[in-house]
C-alpha cells in the first residue's frame, strides 16, 4: 500500500511537468490547427539552453527565466520562418514540417552539445528525501511539480484573462470571425508557438534535473502526445488531466509491471494504454467530436 501511494504521488508530481508541456502542445493545436510532432525536441532545446545558462553561473531560477526569453524568440522565429508559409496547406504537410523541425533541432542540439549525459552541476535541489507522514519524496520532484504548476497557472491565466489570450481564444474558436474583427492571426500563431517553446523548455529543464540531460529527454517530451490524445486534442483541462494520468501510469507500471515484463515497460505503457483507450473513446476524454458530412 505504501509502495502504491509512493508511486502514485511521484507519478502525479512528474505528471505535472508533462501537463505543462502538454499545455504548450494544445495551445498550438487550438490556435492554429497544427499537430506538432517536434514537442520532444522543443523540450530538448529548453533543457540544454537552461543547462548552458546555469553553467554560465546564473542561479537556476534566473536560468529558467532566460530560457523563457529564448523560448519566446525561438517560437517567433520558427513560426515566421517555417510555418507562416504553410497556412492553408493540407494537415499532413504541416505535420511533416514539424517533423522536419524536430530533425533540424535534434541535429543542432547534438552538434552543439554532444550526446553525453550532462547533469546540473552543482545539483540544484538537495538530495535527501523530504518525508511527509510516511511518504518520502525527493525534493527534485516536489519543486519541479510546484514550478510546473505555477507556470501552468500563469499560462492558463494568460490564455483566459489577458487581451492577447482572448485574441488567441477567439482565433481558436473561429479563425475567420477573429480575422474579420481585426485580430492578427500571425500574431496569435507566433504567441502560441512562443508559449509552446516556453512550456516545453521549462518542462525539459525540470525533467533534466530528475534524470540528467541527454537525447532521451526528447523522448520524455514525446510522452505528451499520449497525454494530449488522452485528454482530447483541443481541451486544456484535458491536457492537464492527461499529463497527470500519463505520469501516474508510467510510475505505477514501473512499480508493478516491471517484475513481469522487465526492461523499459515504463516507457511504452503510455502508448499502449493510449492505443487501447482510443478504441473506446476515439476523441479522447474531452476532445471535440467532428461530425463529418460528405
Amino acid at each position: 500500500m505504501e509502495l502504491f501511494l509512493m508511486s502514485l504521488v511521484n507519478g502525479i508530481l512528474v505528471g505535472g511537468i508533462y501537463a505543462l508541456v502538454a499545455l504548450g502542445w494544445v495551445l498550438i493545436y487550438k490556435c492554429s490547427g497544427v499537430l506538432n510532432l517536434a514537442m520532444g525536441e522543443l523540450t530538448l532545446v529548453g533543457a540544454y539552453v537552461t543547462l548552458t545558462f546555469y553553467e554560465m553561473g546564473l542561479p537556476f531560477f534566473a536560468a529558467v527565466l532566460c530560457t523563457l526569453a529564448v523560448g519566446i524568440i525561438l517560437g517567433i522565429l520558427v513560426e515566421r520562418v517555417f510555418l507562416d508559409k504553410l497556412i492553408g496547406e493540407p494537415v499532413l504537410t504541416v505535420i511533416m514540417v514539424t517533423v522536419g523541425i524536430s530533425f533540424f533541432f535534434r541535429g543542432l542540439v547534438e552538434f552543439i552539445w554532444g550526446t553525453d549525459t550532462r547533469v546540473f552541476e552543482p545539483p540544484i535541489f538537495p538530495i535527501e528525501p523530504i518525508s511527509i507522514g510516511f511518504l518520502k519524496m525527493s525534493p527534485v520532484y516536489l519543486w519541479s511539480f510546484i514550478l510546473a504548476i505555477v507556470l501552468l497557472l500563469v499560462f492558463v491565466g494568460f490564455f483566459k484573462y489577458t487581451r492577447w489570450g482572448l485574441a488567441m481564444q477567439a482565433t481558436a474558436d473561429d479563425e475567420t470571425a477573429a480575422l474579420s474583427l481585426g485580430i492578427s492571426a500571425r500574431f496569435v500563431y507566433a504567441a502560441a508557438w512562443s508559449i509552446a517553446f516556453m512550456s516545453a523548455g521549462v518542462g525539459g529543464a525540470l525533467l533534466g534535473n530528475i534524470n540528467g540531460i541527454n537525447i532521451s529527454v526528447g523522448y520524455l517530451g514525446l510522452l505528451v502526445l499520449p497525454a494530449v490524445v488522452l485528454g482530447g486534442l483541443n481541451s486544456i483541462p484535458g491536457a492537464i488531466v492527461g499529463g497527470i494520468v500519463i505520469g501516474v501510469l508510467q510510475n505505477l507500471s514501473g512499480t508493478y509491471l516491471d517484475k513481469y515484463f522487465p526492461g523499459g515497460v515504463k516507457d511504452i505503457v503510455p502508448f499502449v494504454f493510449m492505443a487501447i483507450f482510443l478504441l473506446f473513446k476515439p476523441y479522447g476524454l474531452w476532445g471535440w467530436e467532428k461530425i463529418e458530412r460528405v
Binding site: 517533423v99 524536430s102 533540424f104 547534438e110 490524445v229 526492461g263 502508448f271 493510449m274 492505443a275 478504441l279
Partner: protein, 366 residues
C-alpha cells in the same frame, strides 16, 4: 481514357489496351532500356561502391513503397513503418538461424526464400494488428497508434526480448553461407544488388497491379473521402486493414532483404528516425505515386552520399566534422523536408511528369 499520353494516330479499341502497362512502342522501348539498365548495366559495369549505393536506394524504396501505399493511396498516415520492417528482419533471421531445416532444403537453398515469404506475412499481420484502431479513429489519433507500434515493437519487444534469444546479447549475426537463394550464396555486393533488384521490381509490379484493380480504386476512394466511399458500398474497414496488410508485407520483405545486406541485425537498425525518414522520402518524391517512392529514395540516398563526399575532404581540416556528420545529416534532412514541402509540395514525381509532358509535345508545345 488512357492513363498515358498517346502519340497522334494511336488509338485503343478495348479496355484492356487502355489499362495496359506498356502501351506504345516507345514506352516498351523505354522500359526495356530501364530494365536492362537495372539488371545489366548497373551491376556489371559500375564499380562496387555505386552498386552498394544502388542497393541502399532499393532498400529505402522497398520500405517507402509500403509507406506510399498507406499514406499516398489509402490516406492512413503512418509514423511507425520501421517497426514492420524490423519485424520482417527479425522473423527472417530467426527462421534462418533457429529452425532446424532439413538438409535437402538447405542444399536447395530454400531456407532463405521461404523465410522472406514468411517474414512478409508476419510483417503484414503485425501491421494489421496496429492498424485495427483505424476502424474507429482517424487523422492524428491514428498517427499516434502507429507511433505506438514503433515504440512497442522496436524499443520494447525486439530490444528486450527477441534480441536476447540465443544469448547473443544485442545483435544477431548471420554466419556466411546461411543466406542462400537456390544454388547462389548471397555474399557480395552484386549478389545482394540482384536480390534487391528482383524484389523491388516484383514489389513495384505488385503495387502497380493492385492500384489499377478494384482494390486500388477502393483505396483511392477511401483516401479522398471515406464517408463517400462507404456510401458507395466499399467496406472501408476491410480495405483499410488490407492496405495495412500489404504495406506490412512490403515492409516485412524489405526487412528480410536487409539481413542479406548486413549479415547482422540489431534493433538500432530500425529507430523511429527511420520511420520518419521513410515518410520524408515519399514527401520529397511526391505523395500518391509509385514514381514518388523511387525518386524520393534515389534523391535522399544520393544527397546523403554527396554530403559525405563533401564532408570527408573537409574533415582533414576539421577533424570534429567527421564525428558530427550524423548530426549534420539529421539537420540537413530536416531542412530538406521543410524546403521541399514549402517550395515543391508536389514532389519530384510531379516535376518528372512535367518534364515528360514537355517532351511529349516538343518542339511544338501549342
Amino acid at each position: 481514357m488512357s492513363t498515358v499520353w498517346l502519340p497522334c494516330g494511336t488509338y485503343h479499341q478495348s479496355y484492356e489496351q487502355d489499362q495496359g502497362w506498356w502501351q506504345t512502342t516507345f514506352i516498351r522501348f523505354k522500359m526495356i532500356l530501364l530494365l536492362l539498365c537495372i539488371f545489366v548495366f548497373i551491376p556489371l559495369f559500375l564499380p562496387s561502391y555505386f552498386v552498394g549505393v544502388a542497393t541502399m536506394v532499393g532498400y529505402t524504396a522497398m520500405g517507402a513503397l509500403g509507406v506510399q501505399l498507406l499514406i499516398g493511396y489509402a490516406g492512413l498516415v503512418t509514423l511507425g513503418h520501421a517497426a514492420f520492417i524490423a519485424v520482417g528482419a527479425y522473423t527472417a533471421t530467426l527462421l534462418v538461424l533457429q529452425v532446424p531445416w532439413p538438409q535437402w532444403m538447405l542444399d536447395l537453398g530454400l531456407a532463405y526464400p521461404i523465410s522472406i515469404v514468411v517474414a512478409g506475412i508476419v510483417g503484414g499481420i503485425w501491421c494489421v494488428l496496429f492498424g485495427l484502431p483505424s476502424a474507429k479513429v482517424k487523422g492524428f489519433y491514428l498517427i499516434l497508434t502507429t507511433m505506438a507500434a514503433q515504440f512497442v515493437t522496436v524499443d520494447f519487444i525486439l530490444t528486450q526480448y527477441i534480441s536476447q534469444i540465443g544469448g547473443r546479447g544485442q545483435a544477431f549475426s548471420l554466419p556466411p553461407g546461411t543466406i542462400k537463394v537456390g544454388p547462389i550464396v548471397i555474399d557480395s555486393e552484386r549478389e545482394v544488388y540482384y536480390l534487391m533488384a528482383v524484389l523491388t521490381t516484383l514489389m513495384v509490379m505488385a503495387l502497380a497491379n493492385l492500384l489499377r484493380s478494384k482494390v486500388g480504386r477502393a483505396w483511392v476512394a477511401i483516401r479522398d473521402n471515406d464517408i463517400a466511399a462507404e456510401t458507395m458500398g466499399i467496406n472501408i474497414v476491410w480495405y483499410k486493414l488490407l492496405a495495412f496488410f500489404v504495406a506490412g508485407l512490403f515492409g516485412g520483405v524489405a526487412g528480410a532483404f536487409w539481413i542479406s545486406n548486413t549479415a547482422a541485425l540489431s534493433p538500432e537498425h530500425f529507430p523511429w528516425f527511420w520511420s520518419l525518414w521513410l515518410v520524408g522520402v515519399i514527401l520529397i518524391g511526391g505523395i500518391g505515386s509509385i514514381h514518388g517512392a523511387i525518386f524520393g529514395s534515389m534523391f535522399m540516398v544520393i544527397v546523403m552520399e554527396l554530403l559525405q563526399w563533401v564532408v570527408i575532404p573537409l574533415s582533414t581540416y576539421y577533424p570534429k566534422l567527421l564525428v558530427d556528420f550524423a548530426y549534420i545529416k539529421d539537420s540537413a534532412f530536416g531542412l530538406a523536408i521543410i524546403a521541399f514541402l514549402i517550395y515543391e509540395p508536389n514532389g519530384l514525381a510531379y516535376r518528372w511528369w512535367q518534364i515528360k509532358n514537355y517532351f511529349n509535345l516538343w518542339p511544338f508545345s501549342y
